[in-house]
Every structure is written in C-alpha cells, then in structure tokens.
C-alpha cells in the first residue's frame, strides 16, 4: 500500500500536484527501488479542472486514454482532458477477458483489428510499461457444419488480408490443448477450429495504466471522479461540457464510453442504434500452467484462457436482455461450468473465485460506430459490444487522426454512424459474437 501513500498523494484525487515527468522504468530502477524500499513516482497526476481544453474525451478507459495519448504524441495536441466518472479503467477496460485477435469476417474488420494487434505487439516498448502481451494463439472451435463453414470463410478472408489464420482438425487441436475432450462421444463433438497464432491475452489494467502514464507525461489532464452531466450544443456545434466539478469550454467532445454511450450521446442530441447488455465473466483459483492458447466456442457460448498467474478466465455471451445492472447471476455460473466441463472434463474440481459483469453496447451489425455525428465537434467511438478492448490502440490512433486532421481515416470510414441511415451495415456477427 506504500505506493498509494506517498507525499504527493491527494485524499480525493483532485488536488493539483506539482508536475514531474516520470522517470523511465528500467531493470536498474527495479533493483534500486527494491533495495531502498523508496516510493515509486506517481505514474499520472491529478489536476485542477481548466476552464477550457482543445479536446475533451469522455471515458477514461483504453479507448479514451489511447486517443489522448496519440493526440499528444502523433499530433502535438496536448490541451486534452480525459474525464471519467469513476477511476480510469473501471468500466469495460477492466472487465473484459483481455483477448487480442484479428481473425474477423469482413475485410474491413480484419484490416482494422490487424492494425490493433500490430500496435499491441510493440505497445510495452512504446509506453515503457509492461503490458504482458502473450501471443499464445487463439482457437475458435466448430461443433457443427455451419460453424465449420464460417471458419473456412473467415480463414480465407484472413489469408487474403495477410493474417496468419487457418482451419485445423481435432488431432491438431488435441496436440495444442491436450486436456481438451476431442472425442466424438460428447453432445457437441469438435469438428475443427479456426487457429489464429498471433492471437493471445494481455494484462488489461497495464494497458490502461500505460496509456495513462504516457498521456500524462505528454501533458494530457486525466480527471478521475469527474462525471459529465451535460453537453452544451448551440447552432449545431459543441460548445462545452458540464461536469460534476464545473463547466469546461471546448470545441471537440469525444464519446469514448462503453455501456453509457447512449446516455452521453443523448446529452448532445444524437440518437444511437445501440442496446446495452451485461456480459458476465468469471475467474477460477490459480493452478499450474496447462492451457496455452485461448479457447472460444460459439456453440457452447464460452471462452477460456489461462492468465500468467494461473487463473482460468471464463467469459460468456451477453445476457439475454438489456440492462445497466452489473450483477452476476447463478444461471450464468451454472451454464458456464457445464459448458467448460464439456470442453475440459478434468476441470471438474476447480473452484470459481469470483464473477463479475461488464456492459456491452451492442449494435445491429456487431461493428463499432466511429467518427463524426450530425453535431459538429461531437465525435463518437462507441458501440464496442464484446470486442472493444482488442481495438483500443487502433481506435485511439484513428480517432486522434480524425480529431487532428478533420478527415476520417480510411481504416474507420466503414464504421460511420451514417451507415445505418444508408442501410450500409458491416455484418460482423459471424466473427465478433459468441452465440448471440
């Protein structure tokens, strides 16, 4: 607890601190602090709210912080405020199951998520913050002919876009995951899988903290416990935001929230094609490493991976009805346990440590909504459903480019809000969803 107790600390997280550029983390530093027991410098700082900023980003998750970071680093725009009603990474960024992959179904989706994987590959070095990205491979199981057909379809689209992705059979699955029940004597025998070697898992909190530290060092203000209560729009333009800590004048507001994106857009008068569903996840007690790749089964509505600490992380499909409640349910745990045991019966004696839920903003076509809106200066990076975390870096990079240049980057042009009015949807359900 020593780190949180240092002399620069503030009781409420709002007191302005003297600004200090953080030292680079290094092995030497680790030894020095380890031996002396001295406090580490704060990775990011609290500030007073300025009366105006060039850009205000609503939502201090990976998307908002990455947008702020790339704005400052790539475009030199540092008068940026990131507002979060809780603490940074308290929403979807800290509740997802930390899976990274790019084996999507549409060429547009594959190109977009591939850029994200590339950014994740060098993220730890770029941010000087170890995000522990482990590219252990990603298996999407097929239990029937139609899903095997979709796997072949995805593999061909992936290969055309230069992504390492192929369909493998039960023998190869057994070789990759010896504990998997690949026999034919089960209710849903495994017929094959889409194997995506560059996929893997990452430490999601570290990604949030790394971006926060990087943005803070470049002069971005991160305001935690600062709730947006209104957005001032006059003459079809954004003029500022109202917050629980005072008003801010700004020409650009970026909605980078997940779960609450409809409510923030409502404040600017922009209607959204979004429904919010909870998604539940759970984690077991830690055991020795035995599971290398990430396992996903659409038919069984489950995905499993083993963290570096040895815990198994389970995720499921979204709950069957909309809600802003983040409470877990017994039905979920029961269903989940049954499905995991169908895949790996030897886990029967393992115990679940805890379960939680996060909010997923589902769109009609399972693709995000990014870019401009009918309100000038109000930009959106929302609708992230069950695939937001893996897109964090590329979303930050492209949204920063849009803000700085005023032009929508080609990579996110297919994901505009106007696609719903034009009927030009980006159907990604076959690769973005687990059984919904």
């Amino acid at each position: 607890m020593r780190m949180f107790n240092n002399r620069n600390g503030s009781e409420n997280g709002h007191r302005a601190n003297g600004y200090r550029k953080p030292a680079r983390y290094s092995a030497l530093d680790l030894v020095r602090h380890g031996l002396s027991g001295s406090d580490w410098p704060r990775a990011w700082h609290a500030h007073d709210l300025r009366p105006s900023y060039d850009v205000v980003i609503v939502g201090g998750g990976v998307h908002g912080l990455a947008t702020a970071y790339y704005l400052a680093r790539e475009h030199g725009i540092t008068s940026v405020a990131v507002l979060d009603k809780g603490y940074i990474g308290s929403g979807g960024s800290g509740r997802n199951t930390a899976i990274i992959r790019s084996n999507y179904l549409t060429p547009e989706g594959v190109r977009f998520y591939d850029r994200s994987v590339k950014l994740y590959e060098t993220l730890s070095a770029d941010l000087n913050f170890n995000a522990m990205f482990a590219q252990r491979g990603h298996l999407t199981l097929a239990h029937n002919d139609s899903s095997l057909r979709t796997m072949h379809w995805r593999a061909e689209v992936n290969k055309l876009e230069g992504i390492d992705s192929e369909v493998i059979g039960p023998d190869e699955i057994k070789w990759l995951v010896p504990y998997m029940d690949t026999s034919e004597s089960v209710r849903y025998p495994i017929l094959g899988a889409l194997y995506h070697p560059p996929g893997g898992i990452i430490r999601h909190d570290a990604v949030v903290w790394g971006y926060a530290r990087g943005a803070d060092a470049l002069g971005v203000h991160i305001h935690q416990n600062t709730e947006v209560t209104g957005i001032d729009v006059a003459g079809g333009r954004v003029r500022g935001v109202k917050t629980s800590r005072g008003d801010i004048a700004t020409p650009i507001v970026v909605n980078c929230t997940a779960g609450w994106s409809t409510l923030i857009s409502d404040m600017a008068g922009v209607k959204m094609p979004i429904s919010t569903f909870p998604l539940q996840a759970a984690v077991t007690e830690p055991v020795r490493p035995f599971l290398d790749p990430v396992i996903v089964s659409g038919t069984l509505h489950v995905y499993v991976s083993q963290t570096d600490r040895g815990e198994l992380v389970f995720g499921a499909s979204v709950d069957p009805f909309t809600s802003y409640s983040m409470r877990g349910s017994l039905e979920f745990t029961e269903g989940l346990a049954g499905h995991v045991l169908e895949l790996m019966p030897s886990l029967a004696r393992m115990r679940v440590l805890r379960q939680w839920a996060g909010l997923c903003d589902m769109t009609p076509d399972f693709s995000p909504i990014m870019g401009t809106t009918p309100v000038a200066g109000f930009l959106i990076d929302v609708g992230w459903g069950t695939y937001g975390f893996k897109a964090g870096p590329v979303s930050g990079e492209t949204m920063a480019e849009l803000i700085a240049t005023g032009k929508t980057p080609e990579l996110i042009a297919p994901f505009g809000l106007d696609r719903f009015a034009k009927g030009d949807l980006m159907g990604e359900k076959g690769a973005a969803a687990v059984g919904h």
Binding site: W260, T262, M272, S323, S325, P364, F420, A421, G423
Partner: protein, 108 residues
C-alpha cells in the same frame, strides 16, 4: 431479476422468457421514407431507467406481453397484454364474445 410476471401465467423465472425488445410503433410502410424506416429498424432509446418492452413467454403460454422494467435495478412495475390484444378483448366484450371466434362455430 429472477422473476418476471406474465399476465397469463403469473410470476415465472426469467429464463422461461425471451426478450423481444423496446416497444415501438412501426411506421406505415406505404407512407414512410427510408430514413424513418431505418430509424425504426435500428435506433433505440436504450434508457438507464424505466422502459416499456415486449417479452415472449417461450416456455409457458407462448404469448407476447408488455412489461415496464427499470433497466438499472431490473424491477418490474407493470405487465400487461399487447395493445392489439387488449383491443380484441374490448371488442369481444362489446359484441358478446363473437369477434375472436371466427372458426365457424367450433369450440375448443
């Protein structure tokens, strides 16, 4: 939310039901334009608070009904038949119960 009150069957576990969606009015296909139609298809109010929505009792009476639910607490305030069925019921009462029974006098 564990229990959902069906107007026919009473309170049942929510796993018996299928969530259909927010209650909305379909524009007249002969009078609407593309923009209005696509807004009907895709745009949702998605409030954090009270909402009126349609549910289907999949594992029970297999009827659609309308529920007022709070999306933050999952508390249910009212549960009723869809407006069209309420109208049929009123017509039935007004005409002595012969409107809905157009099956040629057969009784079930």
């Amino acid at each position: 939310m564990i229990l959902l009150p069906c107007p026919y069957c009473g309170s049942r576990n929510v796993s018996e039901f299928r969530y259909v969606g927010e209650l909305s009015t379909r524009p007249d296909p002969n009078a609407t334009n593309a923009e209005e139609w696509r807004a009907f298809l895709y745009v949702r109010a998605n409030p954090a608070g009270w909402t009126t929505e349609t549910w289907f009792h999949r594992a029970g009476c297999r009827q659609h009904f309308v529920v007022e639910r709070h999306t933050v607490t999952n508390e249910v305030r009212t549960s009723r038949l869809p407006a069209a069925q309420l109208r049929d019921r009123e017509d039935e009462r007004a005409t002595g119960g012969n409107v809905a029974n157009d099956s040629g006098g057969a009784t079930y």
